[in-house]
Subunit: 242 residues, 2 copies
């Protein structure tokens, strides 16, 4: 049986999603809980990795098992073994051709920017940036949309043989009081792509860079033109669409 | 010169307020920052301790110094050395007869209860309790108000020669969507008093205890009648009045 989990986590105290030696990662905590439920090692497959400090409301993971446990049973059992900063929020039984990563059609990320004074109770869950021109940032988001090579907006260390062409379907801002919620929906995102796109959008919003830099990065695919990578704690993987 | 600081902190990652060996406490971080600013050890005096996990929006601390630094200067300098989960939010120069603890006339604490489903992004900042009868809890809060010995509502380990008579001026609930904000204002509070009062109020709200238990605890001063101590992460020291 193939089981699809939707999980939420507070990324602040994790060294990212993926297993890394003895570091505390989401994947290692999840596989530890599965080992406790199943009595043996279970390999999990996620829709993609999230970086250190990045949160998820709806990360999707699948695994195979012979255990005959109900959906509620999986949720209860895993949540009883998982730490309180990871929760299984939904469980589905899926067909064996479902793959958390390869079946994903679209992903939605949000990035939360707080424009009010620093508030220590929000420091883990929002990024603080000031003096932003919202109209300029909306224009910047429009220029990012479409199907392009996003090579110039991703991590330079992660390039070998990769397909950099992705489609960013939508990118817009919802104003929630003093918080700006940046919504990104697209076919897929490269390593650091959203934080690097947010980096340039914020630089433009603060008047430190101009809209034509976006065109220049697309044209040259040069990842060194705009180097700012926005803080991870503002970023949430909200939903994976299948 | 005597300096009065108003500080805010996220108590979740501290082992309480007071210096304790090598543990991470608010007081030790504050004195470390002061040592960096002043080049020597500075003793600080707080309005009172807060327990492990308890937060503050307006804890008050004073210290004496010969340094001639402006209010803004103190705030900037200390915040530059303090970790991001403690912030100096206000600085005042006060007369030498001001004492953060002994001059305090009244304190205000809030306790946040979330009644919606567990949300891991709020786990550090609210307590989660369910199936609460709000009217019964309002009645319980009324019975707690007034001038009494609160010995039966405080930590049994902390009794020698203490004055247990305190005045609870106000205790009420503000409903904020699915969050209940319990407000407590009084002349002073004993160790664990608010969390133990919240404990019985929540037990009454869940139908596990009855209103007359409050009268019984006041009458007998017996701290073993009601043992529930509400989770620390819902509690905030909001303001100290002088």
């Amino acid at each position: 049986m193939r089981v699809k989990l939707t999980i939420s986590y507070d990324g602040f105290d994790f060294m990212g999603y993926q297993v890394q030696d003895d570091l505390r990662t989401v994947e290692s905590e999840l596989e530890l809980a599965l080992r406790k439920v199943c009595g043996k090692d279970i390999k999990t497959y996620a829709s993609g990795r999230t970086d250190r400090g990045v949160h998820a409301l709806g990360q999707v993971v699948h695994f195979d098992t012979e255990k005959n446990i109900s959906k509620d049973g999986w949720q209860r059992a895993l949540n009883s073994f998982l730490p309180l900063d990871i929760r299984v929020v939904d469980v589905e039984m899926v067909s064996p051709d479902f793959h958390a990563r390869f079946s994903a059609k679209k992903k939605e990320y949000h990035y939360l920017v707080e424009t009010a004074d620093y508030n220590l109770f929000q420091r883990r869950y929002k990024a603080f940036y000031y003096n932003l021109d919202i109209d300029l940032m909306k224009e910047a988001l429009k220029r990012l949309c479409g199907t392009h090579s996003f090579k110039g907006f991703c991590s330079a260390s992660n390039i070998a043989g990769k397909d950099f062409v992705k489609t960013l379907d939508e990118a817009y801002i919802i104003e929630e009081g003093t918080t700006l919620r940046f919504v990104f929906k697209g076919s897929g995102f490269l390593k650091y792509q959203i934080r690097r796109m947010m980096g340039i959008v914020l630089e433009i919003g603060r008047g430190r860079d101009t809209l034509d830099t976006i065109d220049k990065v697309f044209m040259t695919e040069d990842p060194t033109i705009s180097r700012m990578c926005a803080d991870p704690q503002g970023l949430y993987l909200v939903k994976v669409y299948y």
